[in-house]
């Protein structure tokens, strides 16, 4: 399977990565699902959502890339995939900036959709990134939300309860 995993400060171009995947897949490809995550202008803390001025994302070079690789490995074991691209930005970001790109190619749309969602859910909870928010209410390190953890653990419950693949 063709894979690209990059952690970078610079922005990315969806069209460029989509084209790259399309070139690599050859004639077996039937579906390409792409997801782009953007920085929201409201923080995720329940109740007191302040307006976010900027985000600073930090990672552990080397270990962060291997944590993303493991997530892609798991997706590849669950679904028949032809190619996966994951780009995650680090550094200073502002609301509406692109922060993460996931592109998944497969022969069929169900695998492409599901694997893209799976990879995003696990990126939120398992990939090694830390987010610091500067809002009108001060500067805080973001904690992983209960909702994110539940979304990720739903995938492992699904694997245990059926042979869904």
């Amino acid at each position: 399977m063709h894979r690209v995993i990059q952690v970078q400060q610079q922005d990315f171009e969806l069209a460029e990565h989509y084209e790259m995947i399309r070139q690599h897949c050859g004639e077996a490809v039937g579906a390409i699902a792409a997801f782009v995550g953007l920085v929201r202008d409201h923080n995720s803390h329940a109740g007191d959502g302040g307006t976010v001025g900027s985000l600073a994302l930090e990672h552990y070079p080397g270990m962060t890339e291997s944590s993303i690789c493991q997530i892609v490995d798991e997706a590849e074991q669950r679904w028949p995939l032809l190619a996966v691209t994951v780009i995650h930005r680090v550094g200073e970001l502002k609301p509406t900036d692109q922060i993460v790109l996931v592109v998944v190619a497969s022969a069929h749309r169900s695998a492409a959709f599901a694997a893209a969602e799976f990879i995003m859910d696990y990126l939120k909870t398992r990939a090694i990134f830390w987010k610091k928010e500067t809002s009108d209410q001060g500067v805080t390190w973001v904690e992983s939300t209960l909702g994110d953890q539940q979304r990720a653990s739903a995938w492992s419950d699904q694997a245990k309860s059926s042979d869904f693949a």
Partner: protein, 85 residues
Amino acid sequence: MITVKFFASLREAVGHDHVTLDADTLPRLRSALAERLSKEAQQALWADGVRLAINQQFLASDWRTCDDSVGPSAEIAFLPPVTGG
């Protein structure tokens, strides 16, 4: 000597992104950190949810109670809970 790295909130609590220490086991690492760091920094490192990686591999057990040895030039990292995406 081993290198001990601190990330995100832990780096801010400790005041350094890394320190070098002489320690060949985790118990020795714990006592070296306790000697060298402020009470506040120790509280942050010893908090629940903090994970330790040795040469970029997560330690499977709790670093606060584990007795494993570490290699002579190991890279140790303290990681607070992650928040990606």
